[in-house]
Structure formats: structure tokens, C-alpha cells
């Protein structure tokens, strides 16, 4: 879906190549200043590459006439839930994007209702956003993007400011949209447990792709990760320590479920 061959003149990103397909979840990780957020802003033409190109459904983001088509196709959710909702009532905020697209009122109404249902917030449609929890606000933001019928959802550290419950809500919603509605999902995150849920992990460092591959593969590469000062998810580290101590564990364990599954035979009643 995307093809990004990006700048060499700009220090923020240098020659990044990345493809994301419908229904696929890609996690972008890397330290501060690695270029993650810069890359995210390239995905929907908030920034355009100095050299190279970003294509969304074949549309070049530098094509000034089609900027709005690109932004309609790629929905962005930002870090601070308080700074991205515009309207004083939930459903009006969800409608904001569609109104900008100039859709007829009845169509907007239908899309807003459907989007609120998809994120499970129809019961809060008449609330003012400041009375919602952080997780709910982020889901309102997701609904606002969904109503525009995007092909891709970009979460730019969208869970960083939330409590554990909010983080779980947002991740569950985003992953469901990716798996069941076929949206491409780009997760920019500091939380390695979240990255572990993606189909593919891309590690950025100094504006370049330093490592890329399925999470099991990327998180098993201890040395390059240590050099990039990235700590694999705790369960991956635990599994590696256990395997080193002689337990028969398959490689690539990342989640609690996988580890429990692999260790359960040892717990079976003798």
C-alpha cells in the first residue's frame, strides 16, 4: 500500500523503504529522534519527502491536487487525547472529518453512527469529550477517522498517555479494525508489549531502518537491539533466559499466552 523511498538531504529520515498492506499491522519502534513520528507524518502528506516517494493506494503524496484523497485514506491518531478532538460533543467531533469531505448530511449521520458502533461508544454520543476517560477520547478520535472510510490507521504513540485500561481499550479497538475490517495499521509505539502484537516490527534508528521482520525474529536479535538500546518485551527476555537455562522452549516467544502454552506440558500432572 505504501512505498516510501525517503530523503537523504533531510537528516530526519534517510532512505526508508516500507510497504504496508491492507489487514496488516506494522509496528514502528525506535528511540526519541529516530524518525518515527516524522515517518508517520509522511504517510498522510502532513509532510512530503524531499526525495523518494510515498504512495497511498497508488496516489503520490506530493500530488497537491490529491492531498485530501490521501488524508481521507490514511487516518492519524496522535498522542495527546485532549489535543485532537475539535467539537464539544462526541458525535459532532466524529462528524468533523466527514463534514470536511463535504458529504451529504444523511450520509454523515449514517457513517457517524456506524463508526461509533465500531468503537463501542454509541452510548456516549451526546457527551462532551472532557468528561470521557483518556481511552474513550482516543476511541472517539478513532471513530472520527473511521467515519471517513480510511484504508489505513496510523497510531502515533496513541497509548502513551493512557492508563492500563485505556491502553488495552485502544489496542483492542485498533487491532480488531485491522483484523476484521481489513484496515492497514501502523503502530508507532514505545511499548514493546504492543509492538509484539504486530505482524511486522520495523526498528528505526537515525532515520534509517535498522531492523525489520516479524516480532519473534526482531526481538530475538539481542545484540543489535542492545546496540540500539531497545529492550525486548519482558516475556521475550524471560523466555530467552529460561531457554538458556535448559528448558525446552521454541524460539520466538513474545507474549504471556505463548510462554504459558509452551511451559504448560511441564505443569501437567505426572
Amino acid at each position: 500500500m505504501y512505498r516510501a523511498g525517503t530523503p537523504d538531504a533531510v537528516p530526519a529520515l534517510r532512505g526508508v523503504d516500507l510497504d504496508v498492506s491492507p489487514g496488516e499491522c506494522v509496528a514502528l519502534i525506535g528511540g526519541n529522534g529516530s524518525g518515527k513520528s516524522t515517518l508517520a507524518k509522511h504517510l498522510n502528506a502532513l509532510l512530503t519527502p524531499t526525495s523518494g516517494a510515498v504512495r497511498v493506494d497508488g496516489i503520490d503524496t506530493r500530488d497537491a491536487d490529491r492531498v485530501w484523497d490521501v488524508r481521507q485514506r490514511v487516518g492519524m491518531i496522535f498522542e495527546n487525547p485532549d489535543d485532537q478532538l475539535v467539537a464539544a460533543i462526541v458525535e459532532e467531533d466524529v462528524a468533523f472529518g466527514c463534514e470536511n469531505l463535504g458529504l451529504p448530511p444523511a450520509e454523515i449521520r449514517a457513517r457517524v453512527d456506524a463508526a461509533l458502533r465500531l468503537v463501542g461508544l454509541e452510548h456516549l454520543r451526546r457527551r462532551p469529550p472532557h468528561l470521557l476517560s483518556g481511552g474513550q477520547k482516543q476511541r472517539v478520535a478513532i471513530a472520527g477517522v473511521l467515519a471517513m472510510r480510511p484504508r489505513c490507521l496510523v497510531l502515533d504513540e496513541a497509548t502513551a498517555m493512557l492508563d492500563p485500561r485505556g491502553q488495552a481499550e485502544v489496542m483492542e479497538t485498533a487491532l480488531r479494525l485491522c483484523r476484521h475490517e481489513g484496515l492497514a495499521l501502523v503502530l508507532i509505539t514505545h511499548a514493546m508489549e504492543e509492538a509484539a502484537l504486530a505482524d511486522r516490527v520495523v526498528v528505526l534508528a537515525d532515520g534509517r531502518v535498522a531492523l525489520a521482520g516479524p516480532p519473534a525474529e526482531v526481538f530475538s536479535r539481542a545484540e543489535p537491539l542492545a546496540r540500539l538500546r531497545i529492550e525486548p518485551p519482558p516475556i521475550a527476555r524471560l523466555a530467552r533466559l529460561l531457554a538458556a537455562s535448559g528448558l525446552p522452549l521454541p524460539p520466538g516467544i513474545l507474549t504471556v499466552e505463548q510462554l504459558v502454552e509452551a511451559l504448560s506440558p511441564l505443569g501437567a500432572a505426572p
Binding site: 528511540g31 526519541n32 498522542e79 476517560s133 483518556g134 502513551a160 498517555m161 492508563d163 492500563p164 485500561r165 485505556g166 491502553q167 514505545h190 514493546m192 508489549e193 538500546r229 531497545i230 529492550e231 518485551p233 519482558p234 516475556i235 527476555r237 524471560l238 533466559l241 529460561l242 537455562s245 528448558l247 504471556v256 510462554l259 504459558v260 511451559l263 504448560s264 511441564l266 505443569g267 501437567a268 500432572a269 505426572p270
Partner: protein, 288 residues
């Protein structure tokens, strides 16, 4: 040193949105402790710590510092706030001065500290959070990274030389590296300088590594108070309260459910490894 006796706090009393943020909370935090207060958003933990330095006044009940009621007439509020340093969530948002040094000096200056003593305190506070006073002191706080700004904010409290440091979600919104740095500094303030520390958080992970004692709050009440391990021994309950459990703890629990006798109160990866290996060994002995 701080003691709360049946503290109740009601927000917006007499309006339709009246809410009881704290209900009959009694607890004591002793000198030299490192305590975690955990609870989901809205559980009252932030409201509670604002009672420690007198920013909020209990609707009912009393708060004592060294056995003196902090709302007694003769108590000097500034001195109270000097002794009980409180850092809010996203404390970098309180920075306002032109230079880092001037911002760190704001607190002690309000206390009447000046001259060489002020200079000494500012430099000392910056050093304690790992910022070189000569390099960072003259810079604008707004030109720093998030992690650095947060450390400046912590230094701003340390420069008041408090006996107790309360930090509300000190690692929220930071990348893992800055998070670790901040936690290391906090640990050192406790271990090396004997500061009493209270960490407020909704995430167990940060708190688990640092605190020996945990206070768990839910809907304005203290629902558990004790050694971190004993609190973690009932993870199902903690999860029900909407608190993020360390994944290693979660894993140990699930393994127990599957019949592997892993200690339930493990917190870190290293502890998890030891506990699982031990359980496997026990099982193997049982089988042979």
C-alpha cells in the same frame, strides 16, 4: 512522618456533581520509606497525596506531619510544602523561567534562600538528577527533550531540600530509556540520600521494581496496604481494579492455574526465571 486519620474528601460539595474522592482513609508513611500508591484513574490516589502537603484540606478527618495537625493555625504552609515535595503528573508543564537554573531556583527562592546557598542548592539538585549544572543551567528549559525537562522539574522540587518526595506518574509519556533513567535517579535519592519517597501510579511495572510497600486504592478507599509481595500475591484482584500487572507476574499466575507451582509474587524477569526453574525442578522431582 505523615499520618492520615479518617480522611474524607468531597469534591464540589452541595452541587449535583458532588463526588466523594476519598472515603475514610487512614494510613501512615514513615520516615525513610519508599511507598507506592497504585490505583486506576479516578481511584483517589492523586487527591490523597495532595492532602500530604496541604494543597487540599480534608472535608472530614485530619492529616498530621510529625504528630502536628498540618491545618493547625500555627503551621506555616510554605514550610510544610518545603518539607513535603510534591511533583504532579507531566511536571515539565510547570516550567516557566528563561533558564534551567532560574527555574530550579524558583522553589528555594520562595522560601527565602538566596546568594551562595541558592547557587549551591540549584547545582546540587541538578546534579542529583544527572544534569550537568554548567551545561544545562544556562539553557532554556523549553529547548530540552521531554525526559530532560522532567528531570529539571524534579530538580526544582529537590532544590527545596524536602524530607519527602511525592511523584505522581513520574514516567508517564516517556520512552523506555528516559523512563529507566528517571526511576534510577529516584532509587538513588532514596538509597543514597535517605529521602522518603511516595510514587503514585496506575502501572504496577514502575512501582513494582522500586517500592517495598504498596497502598492500593479503589474508588476513594484504601483496599490493600502492605508489603509489595503480599499485595501482588492476589493479582486477579489487582487486574479487576484496572491496574496493569507486570507481565512476568501475570505469566506466573497463569502457570499456576495450569498446575505448575510457580511463586505468584514474582515481579521482574530475573525473579520470574528463578521461580519458573524452581517450579519445574519441583515438578521433575515429583515425577521421578
Amino acid at each position: 512522618m505523615i499520618r492520615c486519620e479518617s480522611v474524607t474528601y468531597v469534591y464540589q460539595r452541595g452541587t449535583p456533581v458532588e463526588t466523594t474522592a476519598l472515603a475514610d482513609v487512614s494510613l501512615e508513611i514513615r520516615s525513610g520509606e519508599i511507598v507506592g500508591i497504585i490505583g486506576a484513574t479516578g481511584s483517589g490516589k492523586s487527591t490523597l497525596v495532595q492532602h500530604f502537603n496541604g494543597l487540599l484540606r480534608p472535608t472530614r478527618g485530619r492529616v498530621y506531619l510529625d504528630d502536628v495537625d498540618i491545618h493547625a493555625r500555627e503551621v506555616d504552609r510554605r514550610r510544610l510544602r518545603q518539607q513535603i515535595g510534591l511533583l504532579f503528573q507531566y511536571p515539565e508543564h510547570q516550567l516557566f523561567e528563561e533558564t534551567v537554573s532560574a527555574d530550579v531556583a524558583f522553589g528555594p527562592r520562595n522560601l527565602g534562600v538566596a546568594g551562595q546557598e541558592l547557587d549551591r542548592r540549584v547545582r546540587g539538585a541538578l546534579e542529583r538528577v544527572g544534569l550537568d549544572p554548567d551545561r544545562f543551567g544556562p539553557r532554556s528549559p523549553f529547548a530540552l527533550s521531554n525526559g530532560e525537562m522532567r528531570r529539571v522539574a524534579i530538580a526544582g522540587i529537590l532544590a527545596m531540600e524536602p524530607r519527602m518526595l511525592i511523584l505522581d506518574e513520574p514516567t508517564a509519556g516517556l520512552d523506555p530509556l528516559s523512563r529507566q533513567e528517571i526511576l534510577d535517579h529516584i532509587r538513588r535519592l532514596h538509597d543514597e540520600r535517605g529521602l522518603t519517597i511516595v510514587l503514585v501510579s496506575h502501572s504496577m511495572d514502575a512501582v513494582a521494581r522500586l517500592c517495598r510497600r504498596l497502598i492500593v486504592m479503589d474508588r476513594g478507599r484504601v483496599v490493600a496496604d502492605g508489603a509489595a509481595r503480599s499485595v501482588f500475591a492476589d493479582p486477579a484482584r489487582l487486574a479487576a481494579l484496572g491496574l496493569g500487572l507486570p507481565q512476568v507476574t501475570l505469566c506466573a499466575q497463569r502457570l499456576r492455574e495450569r498446575g505448575l507451582p510457580v511463586r505468584p509474587d514474582v515481579l521482574t524477569v530475573e525473579e520470574g526465571r528463578a521461580a519458573i526453574l524452581e517450579a519445574v525442578a519441583v515438578r521433575a522431582r515429583g515425577a521421578s
